[in-house]
């Protein structure tokens, strides 16, 4: 069975179980958002799929392969991850070129130079950035590099952990456009973890709302757009998020101005 399938996933750190019987299906070509507040366990689910959280019970299947507890090179070529922090996810002493060639070297793929250039082009990063160090790039450029690195091995699935929350609004728009375009062009499957419902609305087809380690609701994005989420918590989350969104004009208190 293709796609990502999770059944009764319980992930624990030490003695605390962070997620409780999470079951989730992501079919090929779709973009699913995992939404929730900090501590809801949404990033933990992502880490378990990627192989970074190893203490879990249940079943995780990626593109027909059951995931073990350790990093699987075969899954590595199919499923990659983009991290939240563009400052922490690039090795500070390696040039962009070295960072991008690394996955190719690990998997013994030839033609590295051509592939690096191709991927830089893909994420619309000029070739003159190729031999720079991360500290010579802006946040948005770093995130482009991180996306390029995730795409180096030609994966079918991309796990995105808050890919734009550390970026400025105008840069966020560029990265969101980029992610949307790449997905369209390469028919990728996204699993996006985010707290930003507006990002969900732009980038995803479906969303799963998580709270305290459980999925409380799975809905279509059209339900989000038309304010038709069913669960009380989802509604609350939506209400709080509207504050940040231009779609809702909260009346400013003008009584205070003199």
């Amino acid at each position: 069975m293709s796609g990502i399938h999770i059944k009764n996933l319980n992930v624990s750190y030490g003695n605390t179980t962070v997620t409780h019987d999470v079951s989730l299906d992501v079919s090929v070509g779709e973009s699913l958002a995992l939404v929730g507040e900090s501590g809801s366990g949404k990033s933990t689910v992502l880490k378990a799929i990627a192989g970074l959280a190893t203490n879990w019970t249940g079943d995780i299947e990626v593109d027909g392969i059951a995931r073990g507890r350790s990093i699987d090179p075969e899954i590595a070529t199919k499923c990659q991850m983009v991290f939240q922090d563009p400052y922490g996810s690039l090795h500070p002493r390696k040039t962009i070129d070295a960072t991008l060639s690394e996955p190719l070297q690990i998997h013994g793929i030839k033609d590295q130079s051509a592939r690096v250039i191709e991927q830089l082009e893909n994420v619309q990063l000029d070739e003159r950035y190729r031999f720079r160090f991360p500290h010579q790039l802006s946040g948005g450029q770093r995130q482009r590099v991180a996306i390029a690195r995730a795409l180096m091995l030609g994966p079918r699935f991309l796990l995105l952990d808050e890919p734009t929350s550390a970026l400025d609004v105008s840069v966020q728009a560029e990265i969101l456009n980029l992610l949307k375009r790449i997905r369209k062009e390469q028919n990728l499957t996204y699993l996006v973890v985010t707290h930003n419902l507006a990002v969900v609305s732009f980038l995803c087809d479906r969303l799963a709302v998580m709270r305290s380690g459980k999925i409380v609701e799975t809905a279509d994005v059209s339900q989000l757009k038309s304010n038709q989420l069913a669960h009380a918590y989802s509604k609350e989350l939506l209400q709080a998020s509207r504050l940040h969104s231009g779609s809702n004009e909260k009346t400013p208190h003008n009584d205070h101005a003199q």
Binding site: S226, A240, G246, P252, H256
Partner: protein, 277 residues
Amino acid sequence: MSNLLDIDNLTVTFPTNNGPIDVVKGISLSLGRERLGIVGESGSGKSMTGRAILKLIRSPGRVKADRLSFDGIDLLTRRERDMRAIRGARISMVMQDPKFSLNPVMSVGDQIAEAIKTHQRLSPSQVRAKTLAMLKSVRIEDPERVLGLYPHEVSGGMGQRIMIAMMLVPEPDLLIADEPTSALDVSVQAQVLDIIDNLVTSKGMGLILISHDLNLVASYCDRILVMRAGEIVEECAANKLHAAQHPYTKGLLASMPRIDEDREWLPVFERTSGSQT
């Protein structure tokens, strides 16, 4: 009515290998007892402006201004010692992350009590009563329990409320809040901002809310300054934000995705090849 804060031609300069760089380029603003929002992206100089008012720019940074006066006091000529009396007592600042602003080895109650004791001479029981009252004023339901907690034992939202309680102890005339909620979850953000809003409104304080979030600032302020690259590009009333004139402000507003998003692509700024992001 005299202004609470008057700034004329404020410049903040940092030296670099390629010569000095102005991170704030001669901005002027005045503030009454109102809520002013300063919005901008990273590198716009918005935080530096907030820090410059409190003279918290560290060397080698330099602050220059034609006028920087607060309630009739010329801050430019004040020495560090006088500034310390003004900071906290008359102007308070709430920073982004409460984790870094609270002392990790002191209990919450002790820290607030300390803040009270530096400004007022009260008996221990009065200090305790006031501490509890302060915590209640930031809508902490069980202040007795929170008193004994250490900063690592409280959540982000709670920590930020404690910070606000501490900042408001001396009843300042001006509160500068620099991204007070960006480290918090959306549902908590609204609570914290409501608390700030209520306190500011009821006490008739001035508020400068510094944030990258246009809509958030629009909801909680009376007036908005949009900053870009050290300059103020637009000034408007908060409720007129959506009628903003400057292309940069318009661009910022348009580039934000919305919850009821139906655009295929988000509009982005044209960038010169030198500043591609």
